[in-house]
């Protein structure tokens, strides 16, 4: 059994000469790890009277918690929404490849699909811990089919559904068993959504609002029923209006349950959101910002045509469109690029940018005790941000991942314009 201090007999690793992200700040502190968990060195010193077994000099690097991506539709040619017989190996491939982007845990996302697809695919994507083999699976994110026709974006119209008739029973009939599901995106203006939201929340499933034409009132009611997330803010919802802010208004709503705030996903690839809009959202409610990739199977592949759910997409540079249209359908920017872009566009400090990709998604999913932080007792899943001159050292114990060398890059925003509905 792993207690808060890791197994007593295991080796103690001490990372020194580093800055660690803890409590919202980059502290000049050593990071101690044992049995795959972050260790409290003070307790080790006074109670166990032990020192580290191994010292690792980090050369001045920053150590940050691994990134968590709660919205990713596939990548490297793998499409999670395809009803295959071996979905598991596709998930494993993506899990392994996104490690290089700094993502150490993720929610495979399924877009609007017919019931046969859900019932075939869902049982094949169990929750799974991460490791050197790949990022951990935290649960499936079901985006659709209970969404707005008008704001479906890239989702296929034929497979949209409502739960007007039998509320939660309709949900179960569509998806099948919900054991592997951790989040559902739906449109709250759909009739009987408060019941459905309550039923999902009661099962520990996060409810997110998105692909919707809801006004602020309906959105607030949804939050009062238990919704806690907004799927890709600004995209696929009514634009902010000063007399009806719509879903965007949740960021500053005073009608949320006391002690609760809303989390909201942002695709900060420089294409889905104008940097000024990103800044407005961030400044209005920095604690709720969750960076997501919303990556499509084309992530990591080159320009050309690829599949997403029941549709074809066309990749051109850093942009992915529904084939033959100018409708955006997901991003192909890796998470570390999103973090970097967010840092530049928002002008926030590095700590906030890192937290938006680690702590906040962990909090959204209720996992912040063990994930998304480097607090004592948390899983020791660590990223290095290297110096200008990259330093190399032996692989971390079990879960450390090296983020590719970070350097500033010109934002694609300067070269692309947002076209069509987004």
């Amino acid at each position: 059994m792993r207690g808060g201090q890791g197994t007593a007999g295991a080796r103690v690793l001490r990372f020194t000469n580093c800055r660690i992200l803890r409590g919202g700040a980059l502290l000049r502190e050593d990071l101690w790890v044992r049995g795959g968990r972050v260790l409290d060195p003070e307790k080790l010193f006074f109670e166990e009277r032990r020192v580290a077994d191994e010292l690792r000099d980090c050369g001045g690097c920053i150590l940050a918690p691994g990134f968590i991506d709660v919205q990713i539709n596939g990548g490297f040619g793998v499409d999670f929404s395809q009803a295959a017989d071996d979905v598991g190996s596709g998930v494993d491939l993506v899990a392994q490849r996104i490690l290089a982007h700094g993502v150490t845990a993720f929610c495979p996302t399924l877009v609007t699909s017919p019931p046969e697809v859900y019932q075939k695919v869902l049982p094949q994507i169990p929750v799974k811990p991460g490791g050197p083999h790949g990022a951990g699976v935290l649960g499936v994110h079901l985006e659709g089919p209970f969404i707005s026709r008008e704001k479906r974006g890239a989702h296929p119209e034929d497979h949209l559904r409502s739960f007007e008739a039998r509320a939660f029973q309709d949900v179960l009939a569509t998806y099948g068993p919900l054991d592997n599901v951790c989040m559902v995106t739906l449109a709250p203006e759909l009739s009987r959504s408060p019941e459905v939201i309550r039923a999902l929340t009661a099962r520990g499933i996060r409810v997110s609002l998105g692909h919707s034409v809801a006004d602020l009132r309906a959105a607030e009611e949804a939050v009062q029923s238990g919704a806690t997330f907004i799927t890709h803010l600004f995209n696929a919802m009514l634009p902010f209006h000063h007399r009806d802010p719509g879903i965007v208004g949740l960021l500053t709503s005073d009608r949320l349950p006391p002690g609760h705030h809303i989390f909201y996903g942002m695709i900060s690839d420089g294409i889905h959101t104008n940097p000024a809009a990103l800044r407005i959202a961030h400044r209005a409610h920095p604690q709720g910002l969750v960076l997501v990739t919303d990556a499509v199977p084309a992530l990591g592949l080159g320009n050309g045509r690829h599949t997403l759910g029941q549709q074809e997409v066309e990749v051109d540079g850093l942009t992915a469109y529904v084939a033959g249209t100018r409708t955006l359908c997901g991003s192909i920017s890796p998470m570390d690029v999103c973090v970097r872009h967010f840092l530049q566009a928002s002008g926030c400090n590095l700590e906030s940018a890192l937290e938006a990709a680690s702590l906040h998604p962990a909090q959204l999913l209720g996992l912040e005790k063990h994930k998304g932080t480097l607090d004592f007792g948390a899983d020791a899943v660590i990223l290095y941000k290297s110096h200008p001159t990259p330093v190399s050292w032996p692989a971390l114990d079990a879960r450390g991942v090296r983020v590719p060398h970070w350097r500033p890059h010109p934002s694609p925003w300067l070269r692309h314009r947002l076209c069509g509905a987004g």
Binding site: D30, P41, E42, L44, F45, F46, E48, R49, R50, V51
Partner: protein
């Protein structure tokens, strides 16, 4: 050589740095080794109800920055079942370690060393002590200013315990300590200002900043300032363990 040194630096940072260099040099000159331990004494005022706070203080400000073996760090345990036995055991540990080579401490505005409050016996040993109001007020800042939370008792080394150390260094900075410093070195030995006991210690060094000297006679200050070139030989050159000694 029996000597009392008063080392005066311009400000808190310079005083701290001077003291640190001095301790560093003392340890290295001692040539510690596998079987020869340098015993550094520090005031242990462990508030009885808050076992964490003193440990945290020592960890964050000292232990985590050095490579000491945890088994060689001894802190009085305010949660021990038998506090008197705990204190006696502490005295025994000091003896077994060969006595304290260098004791480093500060003073309170009431002139106490460790938690030996005014009225403490000058030959006292490690024991449980009731704290004076002055000390409680001074400690309030560690408890969010809530006086009701500040511990009223503490385990402490005695004046006698510190007097047994081969060398004593007292750090005194700030104007609020000036009167205590005056009482400590310009007036007589008095149990109301327990730090004055060190006038009778064969090797004491007081390191202070300008502000702490505000209540001393100009003559005293000038005399010791005039000796700084001699005092500075104790910290320059600054030795290093890497030298072939």
């Amino acid at each position: 050589m029996t000597i009392m040194r008063l080392v005066i630096l311009d400000n808190y940072d310079l005083a701290s740095e001077w003291a640190a260099k001095y301790i560093c040099n003392r340890i290295i000159q001692f040539k510690p080794g596998q079987d020869k331990y340098f015993t550094l004494g520090l005031p242990t005022g462990l508030p009885r109800n808050h076992p964490e706070s003193y440990h945290s203080y020592m960890w964050n400000n000292f232990f985590k920055h050095i490579d000491i073996d945890p088994n060689n760090a001894h802190i009085l345990d305010g949660n021990a079942a038998d506090l008197q036995a705990e204190c006696d055991a502490f005295e025994k540990k000091i003896k077994e370690a060969g006595g304290i080579d260098l004791f480093v401490g500060g003073i309170g505005p009431d002139g106490h060393i460790a938690f030996n409050e005014p009225g403490s016996s000058l030959v006292s040993r490690t024991r449980l002590k009731t704290l004076a109001m002055d000390t409680i007020l001074a400690n309030a800042k560690y408890f969010d200013g809530d006086l009701s939370k500040v511990p009223t008792m503490a385990l402490t080394v005695g004046v006698g315990t510190v007097m047994d150390a081969r060398e004593v260094m007292i750090l005194i900075t700030g104007a609020h300590k000036a009167f205590a410093l005056y009482k400590a070195i310009e007036e007589g030995v008095n149990h109301m200002w327990t730090v004055s006991a060190f006038q009778q210690h064969p090797q004491t060094i007081f390191v202070c900043d300008e502000d702490a000297t505000l209540e001393l006679r100009v003559k005293t200050v000038k005399y010791f300032k005039g000796l700084m070139h001699v005092h500075n030989k104790l910290v320059e050159p600054l030795h290093s363990m890497k030298e072939g000694n």
